[in-house]
C-alpha cells in the first residue's frame, strides 16, 4: 500500500489574512489585459479573415466572360468520397447558344448535398476545367434537408467569377474559326 505523507499546513501570515496582496495581484492582470488589443471575435457581427487556401463550401465558378466552366465530365462525382455530388450531364443546344456550341457539353443539373460533403477538396483537385472551387463560405445552415442540397443555380450564385489563366475553349473556338493553315 502506498504510503500517505501528511503535509503540515502552515498558518496564514498577517498579510495573507488581509487578502490585499492577492486582490492587487488579480487587479494587475485585469488592468494589464484591459489595455491590450482584444483577441475575441464578436461573431457573427465580426467575421474572421479567411486564408486563400481555405476549404469552405464547394461552389461552381464562371470564367471572366461569364461563361459556365463546368462541362459535366463527372470526375468530381466519381472522386467524391461521401458521394455528395450528383450531376445530370446535358448537351449544349447549338441553336440556343451558338457562341458556346463548341463546348458541346454542360451540366443539366448539378447538386451538392452539403449534409454529406466533408470539405475534402478532392472535387476541386480533380476538376480538369477548374470549374469547382472550395471558397471561403464556412457557415451553412438550413431548416430542411432539401435546403441543404445546393443546386446548380445556387452553386453558381455562391461561386461567382474567378480569373482564368487558360480560357481554353476560347482558344479552341479561335482555332476553329481560323481553320487549317494550308
Amino acid at each position: 500500500m502506498a504510503k500517505t505523507k501528511v503535509l503540515e499546513r502552515k498558518p496564514l501570515t498577517f498579510a495573507e489574512k488581509t487578502f490585499i496582496p492577492q486582490i492587487i495581484g488579480g487587479l494587475k492582470t485585469t488592468f494589464g489585459t484591459m489595455l491590450k488589443k482584444g483577441v475575441t471575435l464578436q461573431y457573427p457581427e465580426e467575421r474572421p479573415v479567411i486564408p486563400n487556401n481555405y476549404r469552405g463550401v464547394p461552389t461552381l465558378v464562371k470564367d471572366p466572360n461569364g461563361r459556365e466552366k463546368c462541362v459535366s465530365c463527372q470526375l468530381c462525382e466519381f472522386v467524391c468520397p461521401p458521394k455528395a455530388i450528383r450531376i445530370t450531364p446535358g448537351e449544349i443546344d447549338a441553336e440556343a447558344e451558338p457562341d458556346r456550341a463548341h463546348v458541346e457539353k454542360a451540366p443539366k443539373e448539378f447538386d451538392i448535398n452539403m449534409l454529406r460533403c466533408i470539405y475534402c477538396g478532392l472535387c476541386q483537385e480533380v476538376c480538369p476545367e477548374e470549374a469547382i472551387f472550395l471558397q471561403d463560405i464556412f457557415s451553412l445552415s438550413g431548416y430542411s434537408r432539401e435546403e441543404m442540397v445546393n443546386n446548380k443555380a445556387k452553386l453558381y450564385e455562391l461561386g461567382g467569377t474567378l480569373p482564368d489563366k487558360h480560357l481554353k475553349w476560347d482558344k479552341k473556338k479561335a482555332a476553329e474559326s481560323a481553320g487549317n493553315a494550308h
Partner: protein, 574 residues
C-alpha cells in the same frame, strides 16, 4: 483414342517464355495467350476484321533461330544454344504470323521507344477534350497515352482543325479531330455490314473520315463502328453525354430481337439502363449486334407498362391473382397462347400449367425478313425453347383463327395469353369478350384491357433466365435492373398458378430451385445442369430430335441450317 487437333500447334518464344499457339496466329493474339494480362498495345487490329497494319502501335522485335545459309546447319551461341537473328527494326505484331521457333520481344528498349513515338505523333493533332468525350474511360488512346506517352507535348504549332459534331448517320456522331485513322469502321462497314459507305478523304494529317457523297452511315449495324472505334471519334448519338462509362454496371444478357440470340452487355446505373453493347461470342455473334436490338431496352420505361396484379381491374396481391387464374383454368375448356419471347423457365411452367389444366397450347410465329447477318427471319428469341420444353411440338402458326373458331363454337371458355395481343392475331374483340382472359405480359394492350386476371411480367432486362437460339444453344441472361416495384419473377407466380391447379402448396421458387425441376424433366439438359452452371458463352444442346422441323432461318453470319443439320445428324465422334 487420341483426339486429333485440326489446328496444328507451334511453339514460339515470347519474352523468354515458350508458348504453344495454333499455326497462323498473329503475334498480338499469341501474346494474349500468354495470359497474365499481357498485351501488345494496338489500335487498328481487330480480331474479327481484316488486317490493315496502319496504326503502327503493335511494334514488337522479332528474331528467328539462325542457320548457316550454305549448309543449313544451326549456328550456335557460345553456350551451345542456337543463335537468334534479331531483325534490325521492329515489326508490327498484327501482320506477323507466328512461325516455329520465332522469338518475340514485346518490352525491349526499341519497342518501348517506337510505342512512345507512335503515341506522341497520334497526340499531335488530338484535341485532348477528354472531359467532354464520351469515350473517356474506355478509350485506348487515353490508356496508352498514360502507359506509353511522355506526359507533356513538345508540339508548339497549331493543331489541325477538322469537322466536329458531324452526323454521319441517324445514330452515329463523328468528331473527326479525335480520329486516329485506324480504319476499323471503314473495314467493318465493308466486310461485315456489306455497306461500303465510309472512307478517308484528303491526305496526310488532313485525312478525314467521311461517308460516300450522298450516302449516310445508316445500315442496321452502324453502332458497331462506335463500339470498335478505339477513340472517341465515333460516338452513339443516343448515348451521347448521357453518362460516363465508369459509373455503369455491366450485366451479361441476350438480345431478344431475333432467334440469333446475340450476346450482349447491359450498361446500367442505379436501376436505369443507359446502353446495350455486344459481347463477344465467336459461336453466335462474334463481336457485333444490330442497332435495332440495342434500342429494345427503352420499352421497359414505357407508360403502358403493366405494374399491378389485377383481378377484373382491381389491384390484388400476386397470390390472390395466381389463385384466381388457377380457378378460371380449373373450370376447363382452356387454351394457352404461349410466347416464344418467354424464357425457358417460364415456358417450362406454361407447359406444366397447360398439362394440369389440360389446355390446348398454341404459339404465334413472328417472322420478318432477315438481313443474313445477325437478324434472322424468326423475330423471337426462344422458339427452340418452346420446342425443347415440350410446350409445342411443331412450328407455330402465323395467327390464331383456329382458336377463334373454337371460341365461337364454345369449345374454349378460358384463354391464358402470354405477351401477345390476340386481337391483332385473328381473335376479334367480340370473340375475345366471350371468354375469360388471363393475361401475362409486360405491356398493356387490347387483350390485357379486357382480361379477367392480369399478371404483370418482367422484361428480359429485369429477370434471370435462359433462351435457346437458332442453333440450339442454351444461353443465360441476368437481371440488370430491378423491375417495377411489386412485380415478382414470372416463374414464382406461375408456380403459384401451377400449384393451385394441383391443389398443392406453392413452393418458394428461385431460379436454382426451378432448374432442379427443369433439368430433371427435360431430356436435352443434363440432370446436374443448373442455371448458374451454364457457361457465359452458352451451351450447345443436342438438337437431334428437332432436325426434321422446317425452321425458317436461312444462312446468316454464324448459322447455316444445312451445315447445322448435317453436323447434328451424324453422331458425334464418327
Amino acid at each position: 483414342m487420341e483426339i486429333k487437333n485440326i489446328v496444328e500447334n507451334i511453339t514460339i518464344n515470347i519474352d523468354g517464355q515458350d508458348v504453344d499457339v495454333p499455326k497462323g496466329t498473329n503475334i498480338i493474339e499469341a501474346v494474349k495467350m500468354v495470359g497474365k494480362g499481357k498485351e501488345v498495345p494496338h489500335y487498328c487490329y481487330h480480331p474479327k476484321l481484316s488486317i490493315a497494319g496502319n496504326c503502327r502501335m503493335c511494334m514488337v522485335e522479332m528474331g528467328m533461330p539462325m542457320r548457316d545459309r550454305a549448309t543449313g546447319e544451326a549456328i550456335l551461341d557460345d553456350d551451345g544454344t542456337q543463335k537468334i537473328g534479331w531483325m534490325p527494326k521492329p515489326t508490327i505484331g498484327c501482320a506477323t504470323n507466328a512461325a516455329p521457333g520465332m522469338h518475340i520481344r514485346t518490352n525491349s528498349e526499341m519497342v518501348k521507344e517506337s510505342r512512345n513515338g507512335v503515341t506522341e505523333f497520334l497526340l499531335i493533332n488530338h484535341p485532348l477534350d477528354c472531359p467532354i468525350c464520351d469515350q473517356a474511360g474506355e478509350c485506348r488512346l487515353q490508356e496508352f497515352s498514360a502507359e506509353h506517352g511522355r506526359g507533356y507535348s513538345r508540339f508548339t504549332e497549331e493543331k489541325n482543325v477538322k469537322p466536329k459534331r458531324t452526323k454521319l448517320g441517324p445514330r452515329v456522331t463523328l468528331d473527326d479531330e479525335r480520329c486516329i485513322l485506324c480504319s476499323r469502321c471503314v473495314r467493318f462497314s465493308k466486310e461485315i455490314a456489306n455497306d461500303d459507305v465510309l472512307g478517308f478523304v484528303d491526305r496526310g494529317t488532313y485525312s478525314t473520315l467521311t461517308c460516300y457523297p450522298g450516302k449516310e452511315l445508316e445500315h442496321n449495324y452502324s453502332l458497331n463502328t462506335v463500339d470498335i472505334c478505339p477513340v472517341g471519334a465515333l460516338t452513339s448519338t443516343d448515348f451521347r453525354f448521357k453518362m460516363r462509362v465508369w459509373f455503369l454496371k455491366r450485366t451479361h444478357s441476350i438480345c431478344t430481337e431475333s432467334s440469333v440470340g446475340a450476346n450482349t452487355e447491359i450498361w446500367s446505373r442505379e436501376g436505369k439502363i443507359y446502353r446495350v453493347t455486344p459481347r463477344r461470342n465467336d459461336a453466335v455473334n462474334d463481336t457485333w449486334m444490330t442497332d435495332s436490338g440495342r434500342g429494345l431496352f427503352k420499352s421497359i420505361d414505357a407508360d403502358d407498362r403493366l405494374t399491378h396484379y389485377t383481378i377484373d381491374g382491381v389491384h390484388k396481391t400476386p397470390t390472390q391473382a395466381a389463385v384466381a387464374a388457377a380457378e378460371l383454368l380449373k373450370a376447363g375448356d382452356a387454351a394457352l397462347i404461349g410466347s416464344a419471347h418467354s424464357s425457358v423457365e417460364e415456358q417450362f411452367y406454361y407447359k406444366a400449367i397447360a398439362d394440369r389444366s389440360s389446355a390446348k397450347v398454341a404459339l404465334v410465329s413472328h417472322y420478318d425478313s432477315a438481313d443474313g447477318i445477325l437478324q434472322s427471319e424468326d423475330r423471337t428469341p426462344n422458339l427452340r425453347g418452346a420446342l425443347v420444353t415440350g410446350l409445342i411440338d411443331s412450328l407455330p402458326e402465323a395467327e390464331l383463327s383456329a382458336i377463334a373458331r373454337e371460341i365461337n363454337s364454345g369449345a374454349v371458355k378460358t384463354l391464358f395469353v402470354v405477351n401477345e395481343d390476340v386481337t391483332k392475331l385473328g381473335i376479334p374483340a367480340d370473340a375475345l369478350s366471350q371468354v375469360k382472359v388471363i393475361y401475362v405480359g409486360t405491356h398493356a394492350n387490347e387483350t390485357s384491357q379486357g382480361a379477367a386476371v392480369v399478371l404483370p411480367s418482367l422484361s428480359v432486362f429485369e429477370k434471370d433466365g435462359t433462351f435457346i437460339n437458332q442453333s440450339f444453344r442454351l444461353q443465360r441472361f441476368k437481371a440488370a435492373v430491378p423491375g417495377p416495384s411489386g412485380v415478382t419473377s414470372d416463374f414464382s407466380v406461375l408456380e403459384q398458378v401451377a400449384a393451385s391447379l394441383n391443389d398443392e402448396k406453392p413452393a418458394a421458387i428461385t431460379i436454382d430451385v426451378a432448374w432442379e425441376y427443369i433439368a430433371k424433366s427435360i431430356s436435352q439438359f443434363e440432370d446436374s445442369l443448373r442455371w448458374r452452371g451454364i457457361p457465359d458463352e452458352g451451351l450447345a444442346l443436342d438438337a437431334k430430335a428437332f432436325l426434321d422441323i422446317p425452321f425458317v432461318e436461312t444462312k446468316n453470319l454464324k448459322f447455316d441450317p444445312v451445315a447445322f443439320k448435317e453436323a447434328h445428324a451424324t453422331p458425334a465422334g464418327a
